[in-house]
C-alpha cells in the first residue's frame, strides 16, 4: 500500500475548481474547459488509485478517458462554434430562447 492521499486531495481540489467553474462562468468555451478540468481531475485520481492498489487498470482507464475527452472536444467545439457564428456570442446566458 502506498499513501496517495496528497494526490487524491489535489484531484478533489481540481475537480471542485472545475465544478465551480462550470457553475459560475458564462462563456461556453470556459464552461467547457472547466468540464475538461473535471475529467483530468478524475484521471489524476484514477492513476493515483492505480498506484495505491498496484494495479494497471486505472492507468489504462486514464488513456481511455483522454481519447473520450478528445472526442468530446470535437463535438463540443463544433456545437459551440455554430452557436457563436449564428449569435456572435458564446455566452450561455444569451442562449435562452427555450424556457418554461
Amino acid at each position: 500500500m502506498n499513501d496517495v492521499t496528497p494526490y487524491i486531495l489535489l484531484s478533489a481540489i481540481l475537480f471542485t475548481i472545475g465544478t465551480v467553474g462550470v457553475l459560475v462562468r458564462r462563456n461556453a468555451i470556459v464552461v467547457f474547459m472547466c468540464v475538461e478540468l473535471m475529467l483530468n481531475a478524475s484521471n489524476l485520481a484514477l492513476v493515483a488509485f492505480a498506484y495505491q492498489h498496484g494495479d494497471l487498470e486505472g492507468q489504462i482507464a486514464a488513456f481511455f478517458v483522454m481519447v473520450v475527452a478528445a472526442a468530446e472536444v470535437v463535438v463540443g467545439l463544433a456545437i459551440i462554434m455554430t452557436i457563436f457564428r449564428t449569435r456572435r456570442s458564446a455566452s450561455v446566458d444569451d442562449a435562452s430562447l427555450l424556457k418554461y
Partner: protein, 530 residues
C-alpha cells in the same frame, strides 16, 4: 506483468459489431457516394444493419448458456467487459426495434416537400444565402450518427465494468448532442438545445467519471463482480464507496432525466428535430435504465441499504415535479418532455423493488422484469406520440402550441385518436400497455416495502391523468380560435411515419390486452449474471 491476449466472443457480441460497422460504412458512403445516391444508400444500409443486428440478437438470445447455477443465462464476453445475459439481450432487442422505427421517422421526406427534417447543411448560418442554397439538400450524416448512438445504447446496459460503461455513455451521448442541433426549421432553438444538452451532459459525465475513480479507489478493480466482492467483504474505505455511488448516480440519473437532473429534458425535447426526440426519448431511457439496473443490482446490490433511501427521495421528487410542471405547459412537446420526467420516476419506483430471490412469492414479477416491461410500453407510447407531433403542422413547420391543436379531432379524427390513445397509455388507463406497466412496477415496489413511494406514484398518476385528458379535450371538444391560417392541420405523411404510428398503436394495444407473452419474455430474460 503477464499479458494475455483478450479473446473476443464474436458470436455473442456481433449485434453490436454489426451496428458499429454499419455506422463506419455510413461514413465511407458519405465520403464517396454521389449526393443523389446517399439518401437511399444510407437508409437502406441502416435498415439492413439494424435488422441484421436484431436477427443476431434473437439468435444470441435463444442460444445463451446457463450460468450461475441456472439462475441466469449468459456469459462474460470480451475479457469480462461486455456481459451478454438475458436482460442484455432483451434490451438489445428493444433498442433495435425502436431504432428501426426511429430510422423510419428519420427517412420521412413528404412532410417537408421532398426533404428530411434535418438542416440541409448544418454549417450554413440561418438566414443567409448559403442556407437558402442548402435548402434542397438532405443531411444524410444523421444515419451514421444514429448508428453510433445505437451501438452506445446497446453497449451501455451490457457493460461489465465501469470503464466500458463510461465509454458506452459517451458513445451514446456524443452523436445525440449533434443530432439535436440539426433541425431544418427553428434552427436557433435547435442549436440552443444541442448546446444545453452538450454542456450539461458533459458536466454530468464528469461526475460519473469521478465516481468511477472513487469506486475504483474503494474496490481496486473496475469490474462489477469485483466491486460486488469488495462491497461484501467490506475491506476498503466506505466513504469512497458512498461518495462514488452518489457520483455515478448523478451521471446515470442525468441521462434518464430524473429530478434534480432533469433541467435539460424539456429544452432538448422541444428544440431537437422531432424524429430525434422520438428516437432518443425511447432509446436513451431504455439504455440508461438498463445501465442503472446493472450497476445498482450487480455492483452495489449488497450495499442496497445505502442507495435505496437516495433513490426513494429522487423517485418521489421526480414523479411529483414531473407531473406538476407538465400541468402548466402550453407546448405539446414540452408537456411530453415533463411527462417523460414523470415516467422516469415511475421507472425508478420499479428499480426500488429490488429483492433477493428468496423473498419473492412463487410466480411473482421481479423488479427487473417489471422495469423491462414498463420500458417497452412507455417507448411505444412516446415514440408514437412524437411521430404524431411531427405531422401536426402549419405554414412555418410543426405547430406545437397546445391551443393550435384545438379541434384537431374533427379535422383529422384518426391522427387525433392515435395521439389520444398514446396519452391514455402514458396515463395508465386499462386496456393500454401503460396500465400493465404501471401495475407491474407498483406491485414490485410495494412487495419490497417501498409503499410510501408507491403512494406518491399513485397520487402523481392521478395528477397526470388531468393534463393528458386536458390535451384530449383540446383536440376533440374545443373550437379552433383565431384566423384560419393559424390553425394547425395534419399533413399527410408517407408510409414511413404512418407505419410507425400504426406500430405504436398496435404495440400499445397488444401490450394492454395480452401482456402475457412480453412479461414472460422479460421474466425469461432472468437475472443479471455477475
Amino acid at each position: 506483468m503477464e499479458f494475455t491476449k483478450p479473446a473476443l466472443e464474436y458470436a455473442e457480441i456481433w449485434p453490436i459489431i454489426v451496428v458499429l460497422a454499419v455506422g463506419a460504412l455510413g461514413v465511407v458512403v458519405e465520403a464517396f457516394a454521389v449526393r443523389r445516391l446517399r439518401f437511399p444508400l444510407q437508409v437502406a444500409l441502416s435498415l439492413v444493419g439494424l435488422v441484421a443486428a436484431l436477427v443476431g440478437t434473437v439468435f444470441v438470445g435463444t442460444n445463451l448458456d446457463e450460468a450461475a447455477g441456472g439462475q441466469a443465462r449468459g456469459l462474460l464476453g470480451a475479457a469480462g467487459s461486455v456481459v451478454v445475459d438475458g436482460p442484455t439481450v432483451f434490451l438489445w432487442g428493444v433498442v433495435l426495434v425502436f431504432a428501426i422505427l426511429g430510422i423510419l421517422l428519420f427517412a420521412e421526406r413528404r412532410l417537408e416537400n421532398g426533404v428530411s427534417a434535418f438542416a440541409g447543411q448544418a454549417a450554413a448560418l440561418p438566414g443567409t444565402d448559403a442556407e437558402r442554397d442548402a435548402q434542397s439538400l438532405d443531411h444524410t450524416e444523421v444515419y451514421p450518427l444514429m448508428m453510433f448512438a445505437v451501438s452506445g445504447m446497446m453497449l451501455f446496459p451490457a457493460s461489465g465494468d465501469l470503464l466500458t460503461m463510461f465509454v458506452a455513455l459517451e458513445v451514446l451521448s456524443l452523436p445525440l448532442y449533434l443530432l439535436c442541433g440539426l433541425a431544418r426549421r427553428r434552427r436557433l432553438l435547435s442549436q440552443e438545445a444541442a448546446m444545453k444538452y452538450f454542456l450539461l451532459g458533459a458536466f454530468s459525465s464528469g461526475f460519473f467519471l469521478y465516481g468511477v475513480a472513487l469506486v475504483y479507489g474503494f474496490a481496486g478493480t473496475m469490474d462489477f463482480a469485483g466491486i460486488d466482492q469488495a462491497v461484501r467483504s467490506d475491506t476498503g474505505n466506505t466513504a469512497l464507496l458512498t461518495i462514488g455511488i452518489g457520483m455515478l448516480a448523478v451521471g446515470l440519473l442525468f441521462k434518464v432525466g430524473a429530478v434534480p437532473f432533469h433541467a435539460w429534458t424539456p429544452d432538448v425535447y422541444q428544440g431537437a428535430p422531432t424524429p430525434v426526440t422520438a428516437f432518443m426519448s425511447a432509446g436513451t431511457k431504455i439504455a440508461a435504465f438498463g445501465a442503472i439496473l446493472r450497476l445498482f443490482y450487480v455492483a452495489f446490490g449488497s450495499d442496497r441499504w445505502n442507495w435505496q433511501p437516495m433513490l426513494w427521495v429522487i423517485a418521489i421528487l421526480t414523479m411529483l415535479l414531473g407531473v406538476v410542471l407538465a400541468v402548466v405547459q402550453s407546448d405539446v412537446k414540452r408537456m411530453l418532455a415533463y411527462s417523460s420526467v414523470a415516467h422516469t420516476g415511475f421507472l425508478l419506483t420499479g428499480v426500488l423493488g429490488a429483492q433477493s430471490v428468496g423473498d419473492l412469492a412463487a410466480g411473482q414479477v421481479t423488479s427487473t422484469q417489471a422495469v423491462l416491461f414498463y420500458l417497452v410500453t412507455y417507448s411505444f407510447a412516446t415514440l408514437g406520440a412524437f411521430a404524431v407531433v411531427s405531422l401536426v403542422r402549419d405554414a412555418s413547420g410543426e405547430a406545437t402550441g397546445m391551443v393550435r391543436w384545438a379541434g384537431l379531432g374533427r379535422r383529422s379524427p384518426l391522427v387525433a385518436a392515435a395521439f389520444a390513445f398514446f396519452l391514455l397509455s402514458m396515463a395508465g388507463i386499462p386496456l393500454t400497455g401503460g396500465f400493465i406497466g404501471k401495475w407491474a412496477v407498483f406491485t414490485v415496489a410495494v412487495s419490497a416495502g417501498a409503499w410510501p413511494v408507491v403512494a406518491v406514484a399513485i397520487a402523481s398518476s392521478v395528477i397526470a391523468v388531468f393534463f393528458y385528458v386536458r390535451q384530449i379535450r383540446v383536440m376533440f371538444f374545443s373550437e379552433p380560435e383565431g384566423p384560419v391560417g393559424e390553425v394547425a392541420t395534419v399533413t399527410r405523411p408517407s408510409l414511413l411515419t404512418s407505419g410507425t404510428i400504426v406500430v405504436g398503436v398496435l404495440g400499445t394495444l397488444v401490450l394492454g390486452v395480452v401482456p402475457g407473452p412480453l412479461l414472460t419474455l422479460a421474466g425469461h430474460a432472468g437475472q443479471f449474471i455477475r
